[in-house]
């Protein structure tokens, strides 16, 4: 099966123009049409074997119209029903409050971001993916004959998107992605341990060995748990990039949205210009990273993207804005000046844009440390590689209380054994305030909210409570 049909992008653009023409014909002066269409191949693995092969495509159009600062939105799959959708959006706009100063973004040139498309991904067939899936299953067995891939799979996709507006924005492009995820389990002697690891790239993944090896390694490391004689103490915890990113992605992207900050819905509200995290740490959102998982030349309302510095040396210096959020918060008197930071995001064509992050980097001005060096820094503590329930963290307060079955006990700088299960709780904003050491290898991870998290291993010395079973 062909991944990306010939002329796919051109047809998407033609659909946008047809809908734009219908907006003009219906007397609407200010409109924006976005379109997405994704095509993919996917192989699922279950119980140590390939369970199915799937393919297909999906997409649609979203229409945002603006009438005297009032906006309406509708989405559709069939260009022929554009008039119905446009009229729905218009009727919504008429019932919406006016936001003085809110206009759709004007046309601006945007420099392309490299390495977001790889023709070798598009050229991959289902047969190629089947070979890769077989290789993963074999690789796991070769690393540990007890280990089985109980879940996961491999997939490729080509994602075409277009935006076309009455203000002259006219852009389109295709990106690619290739992803691998494996759940490896070792079930022996009445003891089952497992580990999930994944990897995703804009370009073709030729070697999934590292990801597979890490899954097998953690399924092994967490076997034969020891008994730990402590109860609910504050502890030093090294969280791997994989373990830290779910919590970080629930809490931090929400806290640095401009409208959350000015509405006092962020734990960093009222602290602009103040130190909010350790003085060696910085936070940057950068949609212009070549090959970045959430990179793009333009944001989801067509504004050119840029690198946004949010926290510099511990000090809160910036926030993320979309055009409407900025105009609305000015109109409602919560802030005097705010403009788009090229940070509009959508969940596909089905939603109007909101503010959100792209590729979020946590960095330190201090030298990064290897896993082994960070381990040596722990006199009495734990290493956590994954958590359950990160999505239950409170993004408003930063409080969390999660569980982990992928946790190692450390004493005197050495791992002395696995812990069967433990509760891990605290407040992430407080934990980042001081005593934080970062690792030397940044690994991109997914997100529970928006964007992608570019995080190294993180050693947290304050504010985390570990409660082993």
């Amino acid at each position: 099966m062909i991944l990306l049909p010939d002329g796919a992008l051109e047809r998407l653009q033609a659909g946008c123009k047809t809908i734009g023409d219908r907006c003009n014909a219906l007397g609407i002066n200010s409109w924006e049409v976005v379109a997405t269409q994704s095509y993919g191949h996917q192989i699922d693995i279950e119980g140590g074997k390939i369970s199915l092969a799937a393919g297909g495509g999906e997409g649609g159009f979203g229409i945002r119209i603006l009438d005297d600062g009032k906006f309406g939105f509708a989405y559709l799959v069939d260009v022929n029903s554009a008039d119905t959708a446009i009229k729905s959006a218009l009727s919504i706009a008429r019932m919406s409050p006016s936001v003085p100063g809110f206009v759709l973004p004007s046309a601006q040139s945007a420099q392309q971001v490299s390495d977001l498309y790889d023709s070798s991904v598009v050229d991959m067939s289902s047969e190629d993916l089947l070979i890769q899936a077989d290789d993963i299953i074999s690789e796991v067995a070769s690393l540990d004959k007890r280990a089985v891939v109980t879940g996961g799979g491999i997939g490729v996709s080509a994602n075409a998107s277009a935006i076309f507006s009455s203000e002259g924005v006219d852009a389109a492009g295709v990106t690619t992605s290739h992803g691998v995820g494996v759940q490896v389990s070792i079930d022996e002697g009445g003891q089952l341990t497992s580990s999930w690891q994944s990897k995703s790239s804009r370009s073709k993944i030729t070697q999934a060995n590292e990801c597979v090896a890490r899954a097998v390694q953690w399924a092994n490391l967490t076997r034969d748990p020891i008994k730990v004689e402590t109860s609910g103490n504050d502890s030093v915890v090294m969280m791997t990039s994989e373990g830290f990113s779910p919590l970080f992605s629930v809490v931090v992207p929400n806290a640095i949205r401009g409208e959350k900050l000015v509405r006092e819905e962020s734990f960093w509200s009222g602290h602009m210009g103040n130190n909010v995290i350790a003085s060696d740490l910085s936070l940057v959102d950068n949609a212009r990273v070549p090959g970045g998982r959430s990179s793009g030349a333009r944001d989801d309302e067509g504004v050119p993207t840029r690198k946004n510095s949010l926290i510099e040396q511990g000090r809160l210096v910036g926030s993320l804005w979309s055009t409407r959020d900025a105009a609305q918060q000015i109109a409602e008197g919560r802030i005097d000046i705010a403009t788009s930071t090229g940070s509009a995001i959508r969940s596909g064509h089905q939603s109007p844009p909101v503010s959100g992050c792209s590729n979020l980097f946590l960095t330190s001005s201090q030298k990064g440390h290897s896993y082994e060096e960070m381990l040596e820094m722990i006199e009495d503590g734990y290493i956590v590689n994954s958590v359950m329930g990160a999505h239950t963290a409170n993004p408003t307060s930063g409080d969390f209380s999660v569980t982990t079955s992928s946790i190692l006990r450390v004493e005197g700088g050495e791992v002395i054994g696995a812990v069967k299960q433990a509760g891990l709780s605290g407040n992430l904003a407080n934990a980042l305030k001081d005593g934080v050491t970062l690792g030397d290898e940044v690994r991109p991870q997914g997100s529970y909210s928006s964007g992608s998290m570019y995080l190294p291993n993180v050693l947290l010395r304050n504010g985390l409570r570990v409660n082993p079973v």
């Binding site: 393919g55 559709l76 119905t84 089947l130 109860s231 509405r263 006092e264 969390f400 409570r465």
Partner: protein
Amino acid sequence: MVIAKSPDSDTVGFTHRYLDVDKLNKSLDKVTKDGAAYAEVRLVAYTDYSATIRDGKLERAIPGQEIGATIRVLADGAWGVHSTTDIASLEQQMNPTLKLAQSVAARRSSKDRPISLAEVPIIEDSLHWKPKKDVRNTELSERLELLNLLSDSASGHDNVVSVTCGWHDEHIHTEFLSSEGMNRTWSFQRSLINGMVTARDGGDVVSYRTRFGGEGGLELIESCDINQLGVDAKTSALRLLKAQRAPSGKMPLIADRDLTGVYIHEALGHPCEADLVAAGDSCLDGKLGHKIGSDIVTVIDDPTIRGGYGAHPIDDEGLDTTEKCLIKNGILTEYLNHRETAAHFDLKPNAGARAQDGLHHPLVRMSNTLIHGGTHADLDELVEDLDYGVYACGSRGGQVDTGRGSFQFAAQEAWLIENGEITKPLKDVSVSGLTLQILKNVDGLTRESKLAAPGFCGKGQTVPVGDGGPIMRISEALVG
């Protein structure tokens, strides 16, 4: 490409068909002759509407329409799947999907057990759960009136900095054709209203979420005491501002209906999904007929409970839905199955197949899951025996590692129990444990069992679910 016949004003109703049945039946016949053991086409057309108001002002309203279809072909003991919004292309995609299945089959070793399907009755019909008030006929102004009622009742305190209220309704229309002669059409609606109150006191900021909804049309939302829903959410948010951090360690726990529902969903429901059991990723593998819970624990999963957020008349393999009894008096009696796992375990299929939408293939999923009631009269009777413990209420969600059998769920708010009485408010309470241990620790249930707030379940695909039960006491749980 994006080419799809849309739901429009001509199709509002229940009888419209999107699939060309004659043409697709011929394609299904042909693909069977070409080597498929089984093939199906399932189309889902959604008409939905969501709206959000913030502090009483309309933030966004989104009317939408989606249509998608999935072909599944079983050949030589392996699946091929194709999903598309391009309904006109379905016939052309039938044979490539067969080849996909054959490619998978060709790579399987001789020791791999080929996939087969349990036999089911072949039905040709239309079944529509018509609501009293078709939600598609609701004006935005009506939706906003109800949202404003929720917003107003949740506002009005100096410490409340923001109230966001949301609405979502959907009409779900499904058509199903199979090479076995199944030809079914069904539809139903879901409606939901929710709110989030954010409160602040100096540097302390908290939020509380509330939700009401289920299967049904506008009449469902109109049946809700929205004013009370908002007042309760505001009261809880303000209480959280003064709440203390929860103690941690092993202790008795009492869970309200919401948490009881999440507990049974995570701790038992997921490990009961037979696709996970078959994949070697469930702690309940080999436990059918075994005692895994205390005598008072009886658990059902029932998609036929009208009004429940997980209710649906027909599963996504075309089977009439039915009640499943997962645990009877502590004994594991049934897995949730679709046709493939029913054949795998040589069990009777019980219509447990659900897909997120027309673009996803069906997995084994829960619907409305709840524990039956027990013998305790009320909360007071459960509390009075306890010297120390936690009473936890409202769900922030949960998660399970089905293979290890470990789970976690988080409460929105909680109270300390001291000397048989509910005392101080607590925040950030989560509960974790091991399925095979904690089910045996259930030692008290109130009499009345009913569904709690609607929820969503993720398993690669997201589906709406209902959970609930009575108020439940666990003699020992790990509270974090």
